[in-house]
Point group: C2
Chain length 218, copies 2
């Protein structure tokens, strides 16, 4: 892999693990096994590294947002896939979700996009819930679907932080991931067909057991 790409990858991992503000260029270069001079050759400023990561972030978000419930496919499976993609995104870009969200820390591309991404994520989830309802799997009034989607995305997004703060270890089977996914399920499982709920729970176990991206675990 080219040095530039290695920098972007490892910087993101270090930022996720230690926090953006706690990773100096010296530490990053040391971690990469390259000289600091070399690091500054590839990126003129520290913010430029953040920019490169943010660009990838924007691309990955758009890819995830493009997952829509397909007509012929199994809606429960597809929802499970969406959950997996979302959790993955939260983990891979954890430091962006945490450290940068205030005090003007975001890169411009994120600053511009974040509001739309949140809204579109809510709409995306609403489409899935409406598909659940249409398929007879979920008993939910149409005019309360938007609230369900908003509440679900809030809990999914902040659940990981919440359970980590409660002391859930990130290792050992991803307790925080499992808890977060089960937590969002409590919003609507009592109105869902038991069979569909069971399948979702199995999806959740798969996601929680899938193992974490290495940049978090270490």
């Amino acid at each position: 892999m080219k040095t530039r790409d290695r920098i972007v990858l490892e910087a993101r991992r270090l930022y996720n693990r230690r926090g953006y503000g706690n990773v100096s260029s010296a530490v990053l270069a040391e971690h990469l096994g390259i000289s600091e001079g070399n690091l500054w050759y590839h990126f003129k400023t520290r913010r430029a590294i953040l920019s490169a990561i943010s660009e990838r972030f924007a691309v990955d978000i758009e890819k995830r947002l493009s997952r829509l419930p397909a007509a012929g496919a199994d809606i429960v499976d597809e929802y499970g896939d969406l959950l997996q993609a979302l959790i993955w995104e939260f983990q891979e870009y954890r430091f962006l979700y945490r450290d940068q969200s205030e005090y003007g820390g975001h890169d411009e591309i994120v600053q511009r996009g974040v509001r739309g991404w949140i809204e579109r994520t809510q709409q995306q989830f609403q489409l899935y819930y409406r598909a659940f309802a249409s398929a007879g799997l979920l008993d939910w009034e149409e005019d309360r679907l938007a609230d369900l989607a908003i509440n679900a995305t809030i809990i999914l997004r902040y659940g990981l932080d919440h359970y980590r703060e409660m002391g859930a270890s990130i290792e050992e089977g991803g307790g925080a991931i499992r808890s977060t996914l089960l937590r969002h399920l409590t919003l609507f499982e009592h109105k869902m067909l038991p069979d569909a709920v069971e399948r979702l729970k199995r999806s959740i176990e798969r996601i929680a057991d899938a193992g974490l991206p290495e940049e978090i675990a270490a």
Copy 2:
């Protein structure tokens, strides 16, 4: 006010506004109109200031946790008071809720207490919801009360961040506060007596209009 107390107060305000990591001792001293040497006379280390703030935090949390639904009183009003106290707490100690929650940044007293505080807050809300149900104001199954309480506290806690990220201005009537409080209401208002819902909404307007603590607004 004694210099020491002024330091603790103004440090908290600056941390809330700019983030803990973005407030140096020089900036803090300048803001206080005292010399840096004087600052170090009152607090030997930067962490000592954090400790002092954290101690007050612990005291304030315990005071808020002691608010329980009284037998004779009006439960709707009391719940509104609890919401107000909770929102206040989130605002007054915003930087603790945001900046310190990971990467080992917390003071020991917070580190030790946080898990219990979260659990007790959930239990506290559950008591209120049970009281709502007992009073015939809320139609909710007993064995789903805990889930409601957990989901409500998660949304209350992270709602402010969420709506700020969505672009809600903190000034001009506290859009984020109003949105967050209304958001948590969507979890159960459809199962609540319209009359009680109306009263809660009026409470929410009062809280949102109450004006923000000055350390946030500026």
